[in-house]
């Protein structure tokens, strides 16, 4: 199956148009959005939920949300894939919070979802923005950076982070908060 053009600007334009068509109620447009983005969004849900069938449930909710909320997407405020990815991440976190169960990394999933460094710039809408964030993350202390990355990529709460790092909750909170303040200062005005 043709996964689409390699030019990110083209990809972005197609997605913006497809989302506008979804807003007009076209099923075929949602199918197009799905074709272009489902692997990425499933990767997000799976990494956060760590369970294939829960991730598929969440992914289903994500596209229903896209169907209902495509009207609220504003291309001036975010790239389409960022908007979609944020929807997916939020939905996955909602699922994780409401299931209330302790999430472990099953061995067979670990390799599939492991972070092998950043993937090709299919998502990076602005290279400079990404460089800036990664540069600022690199400037943090190791435990600050790891905690913040784990919060974003794994969807952990403060208590889950504290458990995994085997530190008191207060310690983890202060690591993260100090890290966030330094990040914000490093990133400067957006």
């Amino acid at each position: 199956m043709n996964r689409g053009p390699s030019d990110p600007a083209d990809e972005r334009r197609r997605l913006v148009e497809a989302l506008a068509s979804v807003r007009d109620g076209r099923h075929s447009a949602l199918a197009e959005v799905y074709r272009c983005t489902s692997a990425k969004l499933f990767g997000i849900c799976l990494r956060i939920l760590k369970d294939r069938s829960e991730a598929e449930d969440a992914l289903q909710d994500v596209y229903l949300n896209v169907w209902r909320k495509a009207g609220s997407y504003d291309p001036a405020r975010a790239s389409p894939i960022s908007w979609l990815a944020a929807l997916a991440r939020n939905r996955a976190i909602d699922h994780a919070r409401s299931s209330g169960r302790r999430r472990e990394d099953p061995a067979e999933l670990a390799e599939a979802i492991a972070d092998d460094g950043d993937t090709a710039p299919d998502l990076i809408d602005r290279f400079e923005q990404s460089q800036r964030l990664h540069g600022c993350l690199d400037r943090l202390d190791e435990h600050q950076r790891q905690a913040i990355r784990a919060a974003f990529l794994e969807g952990f709460t403060y208590s889950e982070l504290a458990d995994r790092a085997d530190v008191p909750l207060g310690t983890m909170k202060s690591w993260v908060r100090r890290g966030l303040l330094r990040l914000k200062e490093c990133l400067g005005d957006d």
Partner: protein, 240 residues
Amino acid sequence: MTEEPIGEELDLLAAEYALGLLEGEALEDAGRRGARDPAFAALVEGWTVRFAPLFSAFRSLEPDPGLWDRISASLEQPDKRPVEFASVRRRLTLWKSYSAAVSVLAFSLLLAVVLREPEQQSAPAPAVRPVMVATLAPEAGPPRVTAAYDPATNSLVVAPVALSTVPGHDHELWIIPEGGTPQSLGLVSPDGQRRFPLPPELSSRLVATATIALSNEPAGGSRTGQPTGPVVASGTFSAV
């Protein structure tokens, strides 16, 4: 004793909320704050934007091939949220008394609309023979939009007649089955006719007794799934 967070503390709270670090009561509090305080919501969005480049670290994985079929099937049955919005109902019962005697002008405009399909449609356009038309108008004023029901596609073809937009706002179209709750059909723009698919469980009999309404919503439409703004026009169907 909790102090109300301000300044840097508030921004940190926004970051924690955006990242998903919060749980339980702290999460609920932050959620409520986001709903009522646009400044806080803006802070949350600021952090979301800051972290967006990190999305590239997620690895892509194909979901089960059958998943799209399940999604597609569930599009046909939108879940209805039975939220009460008595104020909208009250206004709508007023409009019902204006069950449209469709004006000749509105009807001929509508015929022109339904016979001329938009160019962008990818599938060959089915011939539309409207069996019911509705004129949506305010309590005292000219019609704003007309809506024709097309049974072949179970959709409404809606054409603006006199519709102006206010910056930062959109007009959202609702179908309210008699005794039922409003269901959003989407946003109506003033610059052309659009086809709005109807939920398939609405038979033409239910459509015939439904009220169609246009509400004034924030840009992008209501965030809640129910009308949040004033009803600017409404109408019911008359058989052609």
